[in-house]
């Protein structure tokens, strides 16, 4: 490998911006532009099979990673997290009452709901903003999405069991709630930060 090629390689590597052959020649102390071009082509050829390529874009040269490796360099890491108890409640309320405003959700839940909870549900793709209620303040109202039905294996919201069925299955038995309370599970239901408590990374 000749000296000029090495110099060209190092200069382009250290450069903060792509450089033209002319700029390189000037930078490297009056090397002949023709020689620089030749060096560039030979270096580019050296790199062809490698994980780095030397490429020319509108007369400016720069190094970049090989395009076929792009997927390696920009990785998506998926994390599976379980929805927090508070977020699940909010989702259930939206599902049963949609479209529903935040104030309505809070009055049904009996506790304040942090904006973060709704954000999480939106990020999950299970709820959407369904417009605004035409009352003073025009609050945003929320509804579930088709992804919600899909994820929960429901063909429609009508599949959700009614109050009578809930009672029949004991799900309305206050004892459960009292029991949970005793076990300390129902603490922090102030809705302060649902997302924070949802970090059960028991999968992933």
């Amino acid at each position: 490998m000749d000296d000029l090629a090495r110099a060209v390689e190092a200069a382009l590597f250290a450069a903060e911006e792509p450089m033209t052959a002319e700029a390189l020649a000037g930078f490297l102390g009056d090397a002949a532009v023709g020689d620089v071009r030749q060096a560039l082509r030979s270096v580019a050829q050296d790199y062809e099979p490698r994980g780095i390529h030397l490429v020319e874009r509108s007369k400016r040269w720069h190094f970049e990673t090989a395009p076929d490796l792009a997927h390696l360099l920009r990785r998506e890491q998926e994390q599976i997290r379980r929805l927090s108890r508070a977020a699940t409640e909010v989702l259930a309320i939206i599902a049963y009452h949609e479209p529903v405003s935040r104030a309505e959700i809070e009055s049904i839940r009996g506790v304040q709901t942090s904006g973060g909870t709704l954000d999480v549900l939106m990020e999950a793709g299970w709820i959407r903003i369904a417009g605004r209620r035409e009352v003073p303040g025009r609050p945003t109202i929320y509804a579930t999405t088709p992804e919600f039905l899909e994820h929960f294996g429901l063909s429609s919201r009508r599949d959700l069991p009614g109050i009578a069925e809930l009672r029949a299955t004991g799900l309305l038995d206050p004892v459960d709630d009292a029991y949970d309370e005793l076990m300390g599970e129902a603490t922090g239901e102030d809705g302060a930060d649902d997302t924070e408590r949802s970090d059960d990374p028991e999968e992933s």
Partner: protein, 269 residues
């Protein structure tokens, strides 16, 4: 004395070595040497430089000669009216003492003998000298940004964290049930119970007292075949009735011991 002037941009005209200008070589002009006092990193540093001027290995320097050089230096600096930091003078005093101890006949009593002090000084100078050289070699290495260069515009490695949320149907329905259960208005129903009211107990007890003048145990006032719950209520009401009759002066009560049978009888007249 402390360090000063820690960092300053390297100017283009300066030699690439980080520091070599401070009397690295024997000064030609003696006065120039004295004027460099600001450049010393303390008396030990000055001693080291003077020692190096002896052009021998630090292990074989003459401490006596070094002491003389140091003392000369301090005298000369004072003659030039250069301001000397106190530690230079302290060192001068100590060296003067060392010199006299080395020249005088040995005093066996003296704990650290002059030879020991001289040897320790020499060892210190060796160590400082070693570090000085090491620092110079370190600075002379291939330093990033001066001799070698990193990639100018790295793309960066990106890890996009995406969260997939998990929840199931049961959890959803259960959550709704929980909300409903938690917020349902609480209604308390009190079941109807068989009771004997105070009024009826009062009537019953006064009537029964009217029959006899003997002591009667409270329990005997209770309805004989009542179910247990009614019996309990009757007992409580009859007790209160008895107290009320006693208060009105219509009956008197007697109990021999605690939790013993409570008896009452009519008060006549």
């Amino acid at each position: 004395m402390t360090d000063s002037g820690l960092l300053f941009p390297e100017d283009d005209t300066a030699p690439q070595e980080d520091w070599d200008g401070i009397a690295a070589e024997a000064a030609v002009d003696e006065n120039a040497l004295y004027l460099e006092l600001d450049g010393w990193e303390g008396p030990l540093d000055l001693l080291l430089d003077l020692a190096r001027r002896q052009k021998v290995d630090l292990r074989s320097i003459s401490i006596l000669a070094l002491v003389d050089q140091y003392l000369d230096y301090i005298d000369h600096a004072e003659a030039l009216k250069l301001e000397l930091a106190a530690d230079y003078l302290v060192m001068a005093a100590w060296l003067a003492y060392l010199k006299s101890a080395m020249l005088l006949p040995k005093d066996e009593e003296e704990a650290p003998g002059p030879e020991e002090l001289a040897l320790r000084l020499q060892l210190r100078l060796q160590r400082l000298g070693a570090m000085r050289d090491a620092a110079a070699r370190l600075m002379g290495g291939n330093r990033i940004g001066r001799d070698v260069f990193l990639r100018g515009a790295p793309e960066g490695l990106e890890i996009e964290r995406k969260t997939r949320w998990r929840c199931d149907q049961f959890a959803l329905i259960e959550a709704y049930g929980r909300v409903k259960a938690r917020t349902a208005p609480a209604i308390h129903m009190v079941r109807e119970r068989p009771v004997m009211t105070l009024e009826s107990a009062l009537d019953r007890v006064s009537n029964m007292l009217g029959v006899t003048l003997d002591w009667i145990e409270l329990r005997d006032f209770l309805p004989p075949h009542a179910e247990p719950r009614l019996r309990k209520s009757a007992l409580a009401s009859s007790f209160v009735a008895a107290l009320e009759l006693a208060r009105l002066g219509k009956a008197e009560l007697q109990q021999d011991d605690t939790f013993g049978p409570l008896r009452l009888r009519r008060v006549t007249g």
